[in-house]
């Protein structure tokens, strides 16, 4: 039973990590590429770490809760690094594709 739970969680997590990287390669401009890694990869990592938590709680004596720390850390830092990257992209005036709407909403920085 535990083996099934771990396998399903691992496969879901691996699929999400893969989808994030596919988005990184497939999307046409930087701002769209940013969506894949920040969202899909974070959830994928959470699934993988939950799988590891269940696995080690089952095979070793006692609960293994340490993996929650990595999940929490990734969940907290993913938006911040995304914010830093999009800020530096706006600062360097990275091109976005033609059909992007509301491009005038970007103000010039100081």
């Amino acid at each position: 039973m535990v083996e099934w739970i771990v396998s399903v969680l691992l496969l879901i997590g691996g699929a999400f990590v893969l989808v994030g990287s596919i988005g990184l390669v497939k999307m046409p401009d930087f701002f769209m590429r940013l969506h894949g890694p920040t969202k899909a990869t974070t959830l994928g990592m959470a699934c993988l770490l939950t799988a590891s938590m269940v696995f080690f709680s089952h095979t070793q004596a006692g609960l293994s809760m340490k993996e929650i720390l990595i999940s929490l850390f990734l969940l907290l830092t993913a938006p911040i690094s995304a914010y830093m990257m999009i800020k530096s992209a706006i600062h360097h005036k990275v091109n976005s594709i033609k059909r992007t709407q509301g491009i005038d909403n970007i103000e010039d920085d100081v």
Partner: protein, 178 residues
């Protein structure tokens, strides 16, 4: 908005709680020695660093904060599945866009939390808070602030803005009482 804790020896109770839990998780044990050490660390570290911390607003309603956290976690899961399908689907049909969301929040901590929530949920990444703090002159009252977000697939701009304001901003306003 209250920013001072009532207890003098416990300047920031949530930081202390976080330190306590993280220490126990790092050592992965519940033995008496580790619990004692965690209590000592959770009291000593906030006391030692309190002089050079900027004042943070306290959470006024912990129950509502917990409910909001659960809602956000649920939204993260559903939004991730949506984004995964958007990524795997045809790229040509996506209509990306930048949207300005007017903010009712005034303090920087709730704005940071709102920006992070927006980054983790439905197809949006927060990019910038306008106006720039450097562009304000000394002592000038802060004007209406905007959050600039990038949307992966923009369909209805006004609907998106009302969703963000009602679903994520209104609870934060109530939690921090500002």
């Amino acid at each position: 908005m209250s920013s001072d804790s009532s207890l003098k020896w416990l300047p920031s109770p949530f930081l202390s709680l976080l330190l306590f839990v993280v220490w126990l998780l790092l050592n992965n044990s519940l033995s008496a020695g580790h619990i004692l050490l965690a209590v000592v660390l959770a009291i000593v570290i906030p006391l030692a660093i309190s002089p050079f911390r900027t004042k943070q607003p306290l959470i006024a309603k912990p129950g509502l904060a917990f409910r909001h956290l659960m809602l956000v976690l649920y939204d993260i899961i559903t939004a991730n599945v949506q984004v995964a399908f958007l990524i795997l689907g045809p790229t040509k049909r996506l209509t990306p866009g930048f949207v300005k969301v007017p903010l009712d929040l005034t303090h920087s901590t709730p704005i940071t939390i709102l920006a992070s929530t927006v980054s983790l949920t439905p197809g949006t990444v927060s990019a910038e808070v306008y106006p720039w703090e450097e562009s304000l002159s000394e002592g000038e009252a802060p004007k209406q602030q905007y959050l600039l977000i990038h949307v992966l697939n923009l369909e209805d701009e006004t609907k998106l803005i009302t969703t963000i304001k009602e679903r994520y901003e209104a609870p934060l306003k109530e939690i921090f009482q500002c």
